[in-house]
């Protein structure tokens, strides 16, 4: 099992997949394999925070995790799905008017790897769609992404609507994208901002631990 974790952390994709297959064929508990994946992910996250790993490793890790989960699936009992524990839920979207998804996807992946449940609404998501989802699932967090400066106003509209509906205090709002800073964060009325996925994840973790 340690070899599997090492292969994952060292980005040895082929070895990682063949070891997974081998272990499954030998009758290893699929949940144990899944736990090994999570252990590998935790190490990858740690290296990410220490600036040893960057976006290529993150994307590779996400890809390995997905491909590995596909291999495991047939070995799982119908009713005994892989254990899933979440430390909090985030409704995530690229705000209306903006169709860029790379930043949002990388951030969403990082959040999932860090144990959050992420409900990704996609790109160009209208203010009201975000509000409706928040009312429905009552998440601890809202994440809004935007590459363009035109994203600032609709993000503010989301926060204003939350206030109107008396929902503002029940949820933390995280915003991010290339041109975000404290000025923009204050204008929107968000709780935090980030131009960097890892920093953004850590801020959210901090909120939930507080």
């Amino acid at each position: 099992m340690q070899e599997l974790i090492n292969a994952m952390v060292e980005m040895e994709e082929d070895k990682f997949l063949s070891l997974t297959k081998e272990l499954l064929e030998k009758g290893e508990d699929p949940n144990a394999i899944f736990r090994a994946y999570q252990e590998g992910m935790a190490e990858i996250g740690r290296r990410f925070e220490q600036n040893e790993f960057f976006i290529p490793e993150l994307i590779m890790a996400g890809e390995m995790m997905n491909d590995g989960a596909e291999l495991i699936k047939p070995y799982l009992d119908e009713d005994a799905q892989a254990e899933k524990t979440s430390i909090g839920t985030m409704v995530l979207a690229t705000i209306e008017g903006d169709i860029h998804d790379i930043g949002k996807n990388i951030y969403g992946m990082m959040m999932e790897l860090s144990g959050f449940e992420v409900i990704d609404l996609g790109v160009d998501v209208p203010v009201d769609t975000i509000i409706a989802k928040v009312e429905e699932v009552k998440p601890e967090l809202i994440g809004m992404s935007g590459l363009l400066t035109l994203a600032f106003d609709p993000m503010k509209a989301v926060v204003d609507k939350l206030k109107e509906k008396g929902l503002r205090d029940s949820v933390k709002v995280m915003v991010g994208g290339g041109q975000f800073d404290q000025t923009v964060c204050d204008f929107i009325g968000a709780d935090g901002y980030s131009t960097d996925a890892v920093v953004g994840v850590n801020i959210c973790k901090g909120w939930l631990e507080a």
Binding site: I99, L148, T149, T195
Partner: protein, 435 residues
């Protein structure tokens, strides 16, 4: 021997060949170009810091024009940039053709972007649709024969109307009377004829558009305002990642097929150089913009930067200098971890226009080596007050202006702006930026 870059900068700065409205505007043009030239060359301290906000869609926004109107009504587009140049009087102004022409893309069924009138709301600027326009299996094709790859694979993936190009025979069959038939027949098929018709129409539409736009651009320059660049090119890794493989795919390629990534970057390098030089020469402006994307802090490790990103970019910049141009990197994101690389050029031959990089550090690391620019946050222009902008601009000038070698600018390609804050920014730059 005369330095080619010095000569090109000199020619551009002199305004030779431009018919100015009068001697006063000619002097104003020369004053502006010389501020920029002196800031780049680091030979003498300019009279003041040149002020060069990267106006992209901002002129459209400032005059309350919708992006759709700008992309579909050439007169509206041209007039907005004329008005912006004269009303705001930056030392280098925006470039109208960057807004591009909607009808051309309608004809070609452009897939790589959505634009107002082409899949986006009228009030939105065009946006890139990330995808794998070059597939994994195309690496060898690109490396072996880039032009063939572009004609027969890329065009059809980028433009819906050009999909039949995929079935065109390679051009190499056109050499002998006995061989030319299969090439010609492949061009003569009904789908290919339709695609050629679309290309012909799109070309004509674009040509008519630029002919209509040129008088406006002439008016801008003859009123004394140079444009901020003569051409643009890319770091080979960005060229491969931005619009060919896509971010996600290229990042995985770095692990799955690093040797192909390197070979592709190497193959693209001379092409990037030639493209930049050709555009700059055609426009008579030596400044070649290089927007930097995937090599920024946080995107990749230093080791990966050294292996995949920097060698290609460095070679492109060296090639541009050799060709008489000034590579001006638009350093998007932060480059705080990479500043040492940026100083690796002869003094006064390159410029860096920064986004989020710490400007004090940039000044320190590049002092006496290269011109720096930018660094003012767009958030202040959009959401700050004029007084806040004044304070921020002065602070930035205190930090970055030194005794030359700085171009005052906003750290992003400006899509939106506000009249009171932008005017204050430019005014403070001109007054407080005096040396």
């Amino acid at each position: 021997m005369e330095d080619k870059q010095d000569k090109f900068l000199e020619e551009w700065a002199s305004g030779a060949g431009i018919e100015f409205e009068n001697d006063e505007v000619k002097a104003a043009y020369q004053y502006r170009t010389n501020l920029i030239k002196d800031a780049i060359q680091l030979k003498k301290t300019p009279d003041r810091v040149p002020v060069m906000p990267l106006a992209f869609w901002a002129p459209i926004d400032l005059y309350n024009i919708t992006p759709k109107d700008a992309m579909y009504d050439t007169d509206v587009l041209g007039q907005a940039f004329v008005d912006y140049s004269i009303d705001y009087a930056p030392d280098a102004t925006g470039i109208p053709p960057m807004i591009s022409h909607g009808p051309t893309f309608d004809i070609l069924k452009y897939k790589m972007y959505k634009w107002p009138g082409g899949g986006l709301r009228d009030d939105l600027t065009y946006q890139y649709v990330e995808d794998e326009y070059m597939k994994v299996e195309d690496y060898d094709h690109l490396i072996d024969d880039p032009s063939d790859f572009f004609w027969r694979k890329y065009l059809g993936r980028a433009f819906g109307a050009l999909e039949p190009f995929a079935d065109m025979a390679p051009l190499y069959g056109s050499v002998e009377i006995t061989l030319v038939n299969s090439f010609l027949c492949s061009v003569g098929t009904p789908p290919m004829q339709e695609a050629l018709e679309a290309l012909k129409q799109a070309g004509k539409t674009n040509f008519d558009w630029i002919c209509k736009l040129l008088p406006y651009m002439g008016k801008i320059v003859s009123s004394g305002f140079p444009m901020f660049a003569g051409g643009a090119t890319k770091a080979p890794f960005d060229y491969l990642g931005d619009t060919l493989r896509g971010t996600t795919a290229l990042m995985m390629d770095m692990y799955r097929r690093p040797e192909k990534v390197l070979a592709a970057c190497e193959r693209l390098t001379p092409i990037m150089i030639k493209n930049g030089i050709a555009e700059a020469k055609a426009n008579g402006n030596p400044i070649v913009f290089i927007p930097l994307h995937k090599g920024a802090d946080g995107f990749m490790s230093d080791k990966q930067f050294q292996k995949f990103y920097w060698p290609g970019l460095k070679t492109v910049m060296d090639g541009l200098i050799e060709g008489g141009c000034v590579p001006c990197c638009f350093v998007e994101g932060g480059y705080n971890e990479r500043l040492d690389y940026l100083g690796d050029f002869p003094k006064g031959k390159v410029a860096y226009y920064f986004d989020k990089t710490n400007m004090a550090e940039a000044r320190k690391k590049l002092e006496g080596k290269a011109c720096i620019g930018g660094g003012f946050p767009i958030s202040q222009i959009l959401k700050g007050t004029p007084d806040e902008v004044e304070r921020g601009t002065k602070e930035l000038l205190d930090t970055a202006a030194g005794d030359g070698g700085y171009i005052l600018g906003i750290g992003c390609a400006m899509d939106e702006a506000k009249e009171d804050t932008l005017k204050r920014f430019i005014q403070v730059g001109k007054e407080y930026g005096k040396y």
